[in-house]
């Protein structure tokens, strides 16, 4: 089955390839109505972790439409003409919480473009990175959900877990956000099996099971932000029982060997996304327990080429299209960030809900604004 992932520069990316096509920009309009007005939320708000402006068209509490403007903090990244490893420093700083996904997708695109065989152990290390990142991000998302509900004990326990995972990452990779970890030609990592994961599993298991039983909390999520869209990705798609997951597809990472099982759920609302994220934490922990981190290097080469690298970031497919010139410089680069797709889904799913549902729905998509407004130069 062919599925559309999204817009990647001038291309439209599918799970099995891409076609060159200018995507028509969908302009969502709303007609003026009596009493309805534009409630501006953001760009600088306490309830949003990053700067983003939401124009909520409302009759009062009831949301008619949400227009998201993520371009307030859009940064220009001067990457073209830079060497691969120099470019990586920039790629790392596109979105810190998803740095592993970004750098690995970028490197995979380069390696594919240049036709480099990457050692198997290194691929496993990369899976470990992405999965650790997923655990951290999903914990954070669930934490944000409990925070919106004012749910003190789970909120603090989850924050504790997030910090715990951050420290594990810091311990094994030297940096809490994988900065300077991946480079063209190898990886910086402490060798060995990742310890302390069972603490996370035990604690999270307890929290997750109790959260599912908390009626008031579930009530905030159920029926909130329903989105069943063929073009959705990541947890949003999987919550709607669509088996969309790059890890299940041929992307160049050996997930199959780790017995990866896709997690889906049949409720396309914030609750479904919460469940899927919870289940994925267990799945990721399970996979991590099979990985032994190894410091491995490979030889790069100088060549010309272009290719797409794609991974499943914590919030869905993340892809880079890269063209490398024969001096080993980046000549063209496009990014398909999961957040840019999710933000459209969010805005569609918010209609007909009420204001207090908004934070829950927003958080459930795991959107990071920093990766949306990036302009490459």
């Amino acid at each position: 089955m062919r599925r559309k992932i999204g817009k990647l520069g001038k291309f439209c990316l599918y799970n099995d390839g891409y076609v060159e096509r200018e995507e028509e920009i969908e302009k969502r309009t709303y007609t003026p109505a009596y009493g309805s007005f534009d409630f501006v939320y953001g760009p600088s708000a306490g309830g949003l972790m990053e700067s983003v402006r939401l124009d909520i068209i409302t009759f009062g509490e009831y949301i008619r439409n949400v227009i998201v403007n993520p371009y307030y903090k859009s940064r220009t990244i001067k990457i073209k003409g830079k060497g691969i490893n120099d470019a990586l420093l920039y790629i790392e700083r596109i979105n810190a919480p998803f740095t592993a996904s970004h750098t690995i997708a970028f490197l995979m695109a380069i390696e594919k473009a240049l036709g480099i065989e990457v050692p198997y152990e290194l691929l496993l290390d990369r899976i470990a990175e992405i999965e650790l990142e997923r655990i951290r991000n999903n914990l954070l998302v669930i934490e944000r959900l409990t925070e919106s509900a004012g749910f003190q004990v789970p909120m603090n326990s989850l924050l504790w877990l997030v910090e715990k995972v951050n420290r594990i990452i810091g311990k094994y990779f030297g940096h809490r956000y994988f900065f300077g970890v991946n480079y063209y030609g190898g990886i910086n990592v402490e060798e060995g099996k990742i310890k302390d994961l069972e603490i996370i599993e035990k604690e999270f298991n307890d929290l997750f099971n109790s959260l599912i039983e908390s009626r008031i909390f579930i009530d905030r999520l159920q029926g909130n932000g329903i989105i069943e869209d063929e073009e959705s990705i990541g947890p949003a798609a999987r919550a709607a029982n669509l088996e969309y997951d790059a890890r299940n597809e041929e992307i160049g990472l050996p997930y199959k060997d780790l017995e990866f099982k896709i997690s889906t759920y049949d409720s396309a609302d914030a609750f479904g996304r919460f469940i899927v994220r919870g289940k994925e934490i267990f799945e990721s922990l399970n996979m991590l327990s099979r990985i032994n981190l190894k410091k491995i290097e490979y030889k790069g080469k100088l060549a010309e080429g272009k290719a797409i690298g794609r991974v499943e970031s914590p919030s869905g497919d993340l892809a880079y299209y890269v063209e490398v010139s024969n001096e080993g410089k980046i000549s063209e680069i496009y990014l398909l960030s999961p957040s840019s797709v999710n933000i459209k889904l969010f805005s569609k799913s918010m209609v007909k809900n009420i204001f207090t549902d908004l934070p829950f729905n927003w958080e459930s998509f795991g959107i990071w604004i920093s990766e949306i407004g990036v302009k490459f130069e």
Binding site: E61, T146, A149, G150, D219, T356, P359
Partner: protein, 313 residues
């Protein structure tokens, strides 16, 4: 006469000066249960003193109403501390100024002024909070009134001091109408003081109800409003304790009044314990379910009214 003046001073000062402490203890314990060390129990005092030193930024749309209302709101709570038994169990100077119902109307006046003055800033976020606050107001205010009347219908007088004496009697304390009124008032206390499952103060603007009303305030004016809301929490909580849940133990006389400070402290620890359990065990209700929560409180209070006239038939 001198004696009663001293008792008056003790009660009023206790309300003004000690009310932030109880809020501080509550926050501290809440943090502790949420696995954090938490802030000092004196944090509310620190916040107030710091804010008093700061300047106040006032929106260009705002008028004198915005600037001077906080003083009046604060004063209303001070006035209420004269009229209900929140420390000392017997009437003090100016107590007859208003009866129980009059007290409820004064609480409403404070809420009204707070909303109006916040709206004066012209901020959309304040309007968002106001739109929520006033839409729950009709059930909140009605419950406050009916609960106070539940008291009145049992004793045949709308005087909280008589009720206090009455409730000390175990036979009456366990009567259905008293129990119902207590439950309703407790639920209302949770609502009025912004506790879960109705509200919890956090950073998210979208969920604000009462927090929105201080959103535009800063400096000295914010300090006054914050202090006012601590007093409100203390006043309502003490009525809940002294008239409904724990009517026993308050002493009279000047020495008694000083002892009462300690007794109230113990009573409050009990209430804080319950509040902590609730605040850490529950999540915030969906906005429109708050109405159901209040409607239940309201119905319970009406039931209590009905029991009170039927039981003693």
């Amino acid at each position: 006469m001198n004696e009663i003046i001293i008792e008056t001073i003790i009660q009023v000062l206790a309300v003004i000066l000690l009310s932030p402490l109880y809020a501080g203890i509550l926050d501290k314990l809440k943090a502790n249960v949420s696995t954090r060390r938490g802030q000092s129990i004196f944090q509310p005092y620190y916040d107030i003193f710091k804010l008093l030193k700061k300047e106040s930024v006032v929106s260009i749309n705002a008028s004198a109403v915005f600037i001077y209302s906080p003083y009046v709101v604060f004063s209303i709570y001070v006035l209420i501390s004269f009229v209900i038994p929140v420390v000392y169990p017997q009437p003090i100077i100016f107590t007859p100024t208003v009866d129980f119902l009059g007290g409820a109307l004064l609480f409403s006046l404070a809420a009204f002024l707070k909303i109006i003055s916040a709206m004066d800033s012209g901020s959309n976020f304040v309007a968002l909070g106001t739109s929520r606050a006033i839409s729950f107001n009709f059930l909140g205010e009605a419950t406050l009134i009916t609960v106070f009347f539940a008291v009145a219908l049992i004793t045949g007088t709308n005087n909280p001091y008589v009720e206090l004496k009455f409730a000390e009697n175990p036979e009456y304390y366990l009567a259905l109408d008293h129990v119902f009124a207590s439950v309703a008032f407790f639920m209302l206390w949770l609502f009025e003081t912004g506790k879960l499952p109705v509200e919890s103060s956090g950073l998210a603007e979208m969920g604000m109800i009462d927090d929105a009303l201080t959103y535009e305030y800063s400096g000295k004016l914010l300090a006054l409003l914050k202090w006012g809301s601590y007093m409100k929490q203390y006043l309502l909580g003490s009525v809940l304790l002294n008239v409904f849940i724990l009517p026993w133990g308050l002493q009279t006389g000047i020495l008694g009044a000083i002892e009462d400070l300690g007794i109230m402290f113990l009573k409050w620890l009990f209430l804080i314990f319950i509040a902590v359990v609730i605040d850490t065990s529950l999540a915030k209700l969906r906005l429109y379910k708050v109405q159901d929560f209040l409607a239940i409180a309201f119905v319970i209070s009406i039931l209590s009214l009905m029991f009170s006239v039927i039981e003693y038939d």
